[in-house]
Amino acid sequence: MRPDSEAVAEQVFIALADPTRRAILAALAEGGPATATDLAGRLPITRQAIAKHLALLSDAGLVTAEPGERRRVRYRLRSAPMRVAQQFLAALARDWDGPLNALKEHLDAT
């Protein structure tokens, strides 16, 4: 794995470690691109706090800012960094110890 992917995954895990940022990312995943004002209407967080977190997420490359209606900025979730982090988690989630023990037991029983 290229070193930059580790940096990408790290940004994802840092973002997900904060409950407000998790809520913002979840809202964008569920409902699609939204402005800070849209998100403030849906989440129990002030618009100012949301704007601050969106700026941070944008710097980290986890959301992209795009022009929306009436010159308001809309934020869109970028899925590519999530996939890099997901592969790290996939390696941790893949269990071979359990199946190999099951194989041994199966062979002993037959």
């Binding site: 996939r83 790290f88 190999l100």
Partner: protein
Amino acid sequence: MGFPDRIERTVEIAHPPAKVWAALTTAEGLGTWFGNEATIDLRPGGAAQMTWTDEGFTAQMRVERVEEPTVFGFTWGIFGLPDEDPRRTYVEFTLEPAGAGTRLTVVESGFAQLPEEAHRKAYDGNTEGWAKELGELVDYLNAA
């Protein structure tokens, strides 16, 4: 942090390679110790699938290497990624005689596959594609 690209395990099994081979490469074997149900077309390029009924989960595999009774390899999807994601990991079982038993090694590799720039574009394209398709559906329904 350290990204593992491969997972490797070696176990000593007190049964001969032929018996281990059968457990790894037949529907009866795979459907007993690994999944709950399995089908397999045992030839390179052949399809196999395993179902875990409790989890309601089915894994689609593609058989890659069949060298009875020493090497069996297949690819399957990466856990946690959508079924249609093209990236897969490669699993290879190697069987070596060890006394009266078998030394079985399993290596699963490919966890560190990166979305290349082309991939990233494809993903972003997918997202935009959905928005576009939905827009076209709305137009179509509005026109009808």
